[in-house]
């Protein structure tokens, strides 16, 4: 039992790190290169402008749904899935 818990927590931790790496990319890394990105365009918007106005925000929404689903799979694999109560 305790072994199962340890692997579960190890996987959860890795999943958290992957999530935060993606988050770091969309929240900070791309804005380190704002002036370079703005020379490109997306949907007719300058790219850095688009990312800060809409793109990164959308990336976070998608990331959160993905990360919640992935974590549910990890829960199921290790028998820590909750019964549907709602």
């Amino acid at each position: 039992m305790s072994n199962n818990r340890d692997t579960y927590w190890g996987k959860t931790k890795n999943h958290m790190i992957v999530t935060l790496v993606i988050w770091f990319f969309f929240s900070l890394v791309i804005f380190m290169f704002g002036s370079e990105l703005n020379t490109m365009s997306f949907l007719g918007y300058p790219l850095a402008y688009y990312m800060t106005a809409q793109g990164s925000l959308l990336a976070f929404v998608v990331l959160l749904f993905w990360t919640a689903n992935k974590q549910e799979k990890i829960d199921e694999e290790h028998g820590f899935s909750e019964r549907e109560e709602d």
């Binding site: 918007y45 300058p46 809409q54 925000l57």
Partner: protein, 618 residues
């Protein structure tokens, strides 16, 4: 009233509510055609929506501790997402965000990334674990995880500073909107706003706040999106503005080139008699400022807002109300989705609003026209009267230049429908939306503060033997006191001394972020470490704020200090949070590791199944 049947019927109930609201809007539009005055339409919108919230608040009354503190932990995922979005988007977000983008351009939009990216931290580091823990308040987690009354009291202290900074601004916003919509004095409107806030929360606590917040979200999102889509379609910019304003953004860039972006000195502006708080457009719409410092300013602001988001108790406590850990995770995703709908629209509104003022080919364009003509416009007159718009003819040529037009940022949301020639019913709707946004955030904040005081200070520290009815009476009395204190400060317009709502984020991140995160993710974190971390974080942040904010530093040191490494008063969490982390880790390693029981408790927190760590009743 709110038994199992209610939860099952939620989609139907809120569907009917939304339909009813749509019918109300149509009735108002018809009334406008039959000659109802703009003022009366504004009154009807605010009064009608506030009465509905009050009714929901009354129907959700409760005498149970579980319902009062965590809405009985039965709020479904999507609805909790809506409630969180309303809790989150304040009057400032609603009224000032588009204006901030309008005047601040790219650098200001770090707020958009910060206020959404923070939810990734909430979802992956905190929300599911705090839900499993089963606490009633955020200090309840810290107090139980680290053990002891001192650490509990320290976290209540941080919560109080952060949330109270925020709540006065919200009550202020409620008062401003109520005074404009109802045509009453600001001082009176603040108290009207407070009573509206209290009827939504006092009888039913978290349960009442949850169901009114869902209703408020629906009003505020309709009020925000409808004008954006309407203006975009009416002007022929595209039926879906978010995807189709590329040409308009480019056009604004060209117009900025033609007109030239000029920033007049503060002395010139003062000499021209421009009222305080009004701004001229001097920052490019979509261009990225050059240089390493500009990049750092953007990144540091985004970091402060993200980490602050993940530490604000009134947001974290919304995830205590879901039925399961799984639901808490999904609920964060839904919250962000509902927030995204508004935040991604703010830059679009700023673009449409700016283009309609700047483009000389449009009937609404004012730049380059004669000042006498512009001053004859109805909306210019109306907003000039209340000192929200001002024209200063610096070069005396009688023609309006870009740098000669001053306005308050709020105008972008409040007056754009009028400027673009939309019927007044839309402006009335916008007032109702602003009121909903300010009320819902104020409700969440007042409840967060009074719950922490009643549960953590009164029940856990002062009188652990208090029975249920006594606890709930204390909770309600505190709610009224906190609300009244906020309204008192707001009514004397002392809020200007409190500076910016960004401070709330910086205070919260300085004192709470690392104690919360390490409480879950680092078993070795000790009570002594947490106490030292919380206090050193909040105090170092506070001292730096006093040092760097000109008003404070002139009062204390007699001079204004230059910000260190560009860390100004909006970003002082960049000092507090690292101090908190270093001190907390160092002190934890120097003190004895937490005992077995505490370590087991952390282990239990980390898995979704099983009973909550604290237990059902406490």
């Amino acid at each position: 009233m709110l038994k199992g049947g209610f939860i099952k019927n939620l989609p139907k109930i809120y569907g009917l509510y939304t339909g009813g609201f749509a019918i109300f809007i149509i009735l108002m539009a018809i009334a406008e055609q039959y000659g109802m005055s703009a003022k009366n339409i504004g009154i009807m919108f605010v009064a009608f929506t506030v009465l509905i919230y009050a009714l929901i608040g009354y129907l959700s009354r409760t005498v149970q501790v579980d319902a009062y503190y965590v809405a009985g932990r039965q709020v479904p995922t999507v609805f909790n997402g809506m409630a969180t979005a309303a809790d989150w988007m304040s009057g400032a977000s609603f009224v000032a965000l588009a204006g901030g983008v309008y005047f601040g351009g790219y650098t200001y939009m770090a707020f958009l990334v910060g206020w959404t990216g923070g939810y990734v931290l909430v979802a992956s580091l905190l929300a599911p674990y705090l839900r499993k823990f089963g606490c009633y308040t955020v200090p309840d987690f810290i107090g139980t995880r680290y053990g002891g009354n001192l650490v509990r009291a320290c976290s209540v202290f941080v919560l109080f500073i952060a949330s109270f900074t925020y709540v006065t601004a919200q009550i202020n916003a409620t008062g401003t909107i109520a005074s404009r919509a109802l045509g009453i004095d600001f001082e009176l409107a603040v108290w009207v706003g407070l009573i509206s806030i209290l009827v939504c929360s006092m009888l039913g606590g978290m349960r009442a706040v949850t169901w009114t917040q869902v209703a408020q979200y629906i009003v505020l999102i309709v009020a925000y999106l409808l004008p954006v889509f309407w203006i975009s379609n009416q002007g022929g910019y595209g039926f879906f503005p978010h995807l189709m304003l590329g040409d308009e953004v480019a056009k604004i860039g060209e117009l900025e080139q033609t007109y030239g972006l000029v920033k007049n000195s503060a002395a010139e502006i003062a000499a021209a008699g421009v009222p305080g708080g009004l701004k001229q457009l001097s920052v490019a719409h979509s261009a990225v400022p050059e240089g390493g410092m500009a990049v750092w300013k953007y990144l540091s602001l985004a970091i402060c807002m993200m980490v602050g988001t993940a530490s604000l108790p009134h947001i974290l406590m919304r995830y205590f109300t879901t039925p399961s850990v799984k639901a808490a995770r999904k609920s964060v995703a839904w919250s962000l989705f509902f927030i995204f709908l508004l935040y991604s629209s703010a830059p679009m509104l700023a673009t449409l609003s700016k283009l309609s003022l700047l483009d000389p080919n449009l009937a609404s364009g004012i730049i380059g026209k004669s000042i006498a003509d512009v001053q004859a416009l109805e909306w210019v007159q109306r907003w000039s009267e209340v000192k929200q718009v001002f024209i200063a003819d610096f070069n005396g040529d009688g023609v309006l230049q870009l740098n000669e037009f001053f306005m308050r940022g709020d105008i972008v949301v409040l007056a754009t429908p009028e400027i673009a020639g939309l019927p007044f019913v839309i402006s009335g709707l916008v007032f109702a939306g602003g009121m909903a946004a300010a009320m819902s955030t104020a409700d969440g904040l007042v409840l967060a503060i009074s719950n922490a005081l009643s549960h953590d200070i009164y029940y856990k520290i002062i009188d652990p033997k208090a029975d249920t009815s006594k606890r709930l009476i204390v909770a309600r009395v505190l709610l009224v006191i906190i609300g009244a204190a906020g309204a008192y400060i707001a009514s004397f317009r002392l809020t200007s001394i409190l500076g910016s709502v960004a401070w709330a984020f910086d205070f919260a991140m300085s004192g709470l972020f690392f104690p919360l995160v390490l409480g879950v993710w680092w078993k070795r974190a000790t009570r002594e470490g947490a106490i030292a971390g919380i206090m050193s974080g909040i105090l170092s942040g506070l001292v730096y704020l006093l040092y760097v904010y000109p008003k404070f530093s002139v009062a204390i040191w007699g001079v204004a200090h230059e910000p260190w490494l560009g860390i100004d008063h909006l970003r002082f969490g960049m000092i507090g949070a690292p101090v908190c982390l270093v001190v907390m880790v160092a002190v934890s390693l120097m003190t004895k590791a937490p005992d077995k029981a505490t370590q087991d408790m952390v282990d239990e927190t980390r898995i979704p199944t099983g009973k909550t760590v604290i237990g059902k009743q406490h």
